[in-house]
Amino acid sequence: MDPIYLDHNATTPVDTQVVDAMIPYMSQNFGNASSVHNFGRDAKVALENAREIVASHINCEPTELYFTSGGTESDNIAILGTAEKYKHKKNHLMVGATEHHAVLETAEYLHKKNGFELDVIPVDKDGFISADSINELITDKTFLTSIMLANNETGTIQNLIPLVGAVQTKRALFHTDAVQAIGKIKVDVKELGVDLLSLTAHKIYGPKGIGALFVKQGVRLEPLFYGGSHEKKRRPGTENIAGAVGLAKTLEIAQSRMEADHKLLTELSDYFILKVQSVLPDVYLNGPKENRIPQTVNLSFQGAEGESLLLGLDLKGIAVSSGSACTSGATEPSHVLQAMGIDKVISQGAIRFSMGRSTTKEQLDYVISVLPEVVNRLRELSPIYNK
């Protein structure tokens, strides 16, 4: 059996149509979009066309969309950029407890190194945040609240609209990290009402190193970089034309197959959860059954440590993840599951299976056939599992 990739929330293979769309902007139309000449003009047109496509995907104006290197950079510009702008008037920010490290660590940095007040908004057992929690924590000094649209570990889709309302009533800005939602569910910035939104290409069959930040007309922020006047000085640096073209193509494809993908992935993940629970006892789904990005299946195998499970499956050619992949190779307990109040013993046995367009029922059947051997070995060696 070829290796099976069930880690699509970490990253995805680039769609060949996307590669084809990008190639002309590597060697052939290689111009610098800032150049006045013919070469530059071609690049500039490609860039602006891409911007229009991406903007239309999230229903914003092209003038409100800034290309970046990806989710982490977009999150950083949104948080650090508004903090810098508002620091003389307001000094309080809030972030969800289950945010990606790109948001959490950035907020912690402002708090620990720059004297900002920080509140971490609690979540319920499925990862949802209530407007009441926001009302309890928000103050007149709050300049920004950052809450992700879909969670990378559990797939929880946050109902942002009431949360955005609660924040904006207090004249604070709302940022959402939509990296795990974009291309998988409808993302409409007008409907959501958010002020800032981060997205990236590589989670949805696009290239790594390209993303975007939506900044609503009228929202002010300071740049992190200084240089030329690219991206209206909000993100200087020679534009990544091939990347932008790739991101646009990625979103076009995602748009065209969103419904079909959603249906397929819902069927596959429902099948998978049911099957796993039928071959093994004491397996729990972390996160909600409904309002979840269906490709994300976070399962706890009680009595088996997530780290060992992950390695055991890798040795069988099955690629999954425990916790977030962004912790430099060493596995740490998941802050997401901890925030959801999941029992420590159960959260230690958590594994994230994230499916994608190439996932087949046959692959899942193979995983289901291998899981009992790996899990039972761990349970037998476990001092705490009650056999």
Binding site: S308, L311, G312, D314, L315, G329, A330, E332, L381
Partner: protein
């Protein structure tokens, strides 16, 4: 199916070559790096080179494993390491003893937790880059024998490993000289071929254990209490900064002036005193050890003669080991030994075979 082995890789040349040799011998090799501590906890600079547990050394392991086509993982054991090795290190100094954390790590992390991880991954063995042989002797016991390169012998820190654990351990470098190991690494272009030797206490980055103890104490809102430095004849000679900062036989750094050189004789925690005296009085011919573990022989009831080593850099000396009723041993040396230090390990050999060991109590 080939036997599967989990190789403990530090990022150094020894464990790299160990992994390589096992692969050559047909084992199904999996490499793993134990992440034992982090910089937030122990202080120090993550960007410094040449340490284990750094991103750079992890990268070295990764590249070596890729070259030999073995999967590689980082295993986070920092919580376990802190709870066993680091806590023991601090508390031993508090008790006026001089610990050897490598022994704690081997007994309570490598040959327990790491071995458990190996079993979890379906591995039959673990392997390390120690220059020793592991053999089953005619009594059916698994023993450790010094490797061909006696200058690299680390059997002293292995006395606490259980029989069960030894039976599942491979040490492929036993028959090689360090020079040959480097040659193999060069020949097969392993990235770690020229890496410098690792150090003794991995988590004390600047080799200043006193700085480490002070930082750990500050984190726990604890402080060391100064007291008197007293001559064996009763004269008070000066002040110490806390008994934990002194070890038996120490001469430098005491801040006292005396016409003849003075050495730490006794760390008297109870009375918060450090007792000093002449070099001559440091020589003793007896010690008592407990927490014993037997390697080549089963636990003994009758006295026996052995070569006995009392610290890492100590030439094994002839002695008689006298087992006591309370599971301790009394050891009587033929010639008296300098600076026998409570907390250090005492290890017994029959020529180059490790018989067993324990912790010096007095």
């Amino acid at each position: 199916m080939a036997n599967k082995v989990l190789v403990a890789m530090s990022g150094g040349v020894d464990s790299s070559v160990a992994a390589f040799l096992l692969k050559e011998q047909g084992y199904d090799v999996v490499g793993a790096h134990m992440k034992l501590w982090d910089y937030v906890e122990v202080g120090g600079d993550i960007y410094k080179d040449g340490r284990c547990c750094t991103i750079d050394s992890i990268t070295d392991c990764r590249v070596v494993c890729d070259a030999i086509n073995a999967p590689f993982y980082v295993l986070n054991m920092s919580r376990h390491f802190r709870d066993t090795v680091i806590e023991d290190f601090v508390s031993e100094y508090d008790k006026g003893r001089t610990p050897n954390p490598c022994i704690q790590c081997n007994s309570n992390v490598k040959w327990t937790e790491f071995l458990r991880k190996a079993e979890e991954l379906g591995c039959d063995y673990i392997a390390t880059g120690h220059y020793s042989f592991i053999e089953q002797n005619k009594n059916g016991r698994w023993h450790i024998r010094k490797g061909v390169d006696v200058t690299r012998d680390q059997s002293y820190v292995l006395w606490g490993v259980s029989q069960e654990a030894l039976s599942k351990t491979l040490m492929p470098l036993g028959g090689l000289l360090k020079k040959e190991v480097r040659e193999i690494a060069h020949k097969y272009k392993l990235r770690t071929a020229d890496k410098a030797e690792s150090r003794e206490i991995c988590f004390v980055l600047d080799d200043d254990y006193r700085r480490f103890l002070i930082e750990m104490a500050e984190k726990n809102n604890k402080s060391y209490v100064p007291g008197e430095i007293v001559h064996a004849d009763g004269r008070v000679l000066g002040q110490h900064k806390g008994t934990a900062f002194y070890t038996i036989g120490q001469r430098k750094g005491m801040g006292i002036s005396h016409p003849t050189p003075l050495y730490v004789q006794v760390i008297d925690v109870e009375n918060n005193r450090v007792i000093v005296g002449d070099n001559d009085t440091l020589f003793k011919s007896e010690l008592v050890a407990d927490s014993l573990n037997w390697i080549a022989i089963d636990s003994q009831s009758e006295p026996f003669d052995a070569l006995v080593k009392i610290r890492y850099l100590h030439e094994p000396s002839e002695a008689t080991v006298l087992p006591q009723a309370d599971n301790s041993v009394r050891i009587v040396f033929k010639d008296s030994q300098r600076a026998i230090t409570p907390g250090q390990s005492v290890v017994f050999y029959d020529n180059d075979v490790l018989l067993g060991g324990g912790l010096i109590v007095e």
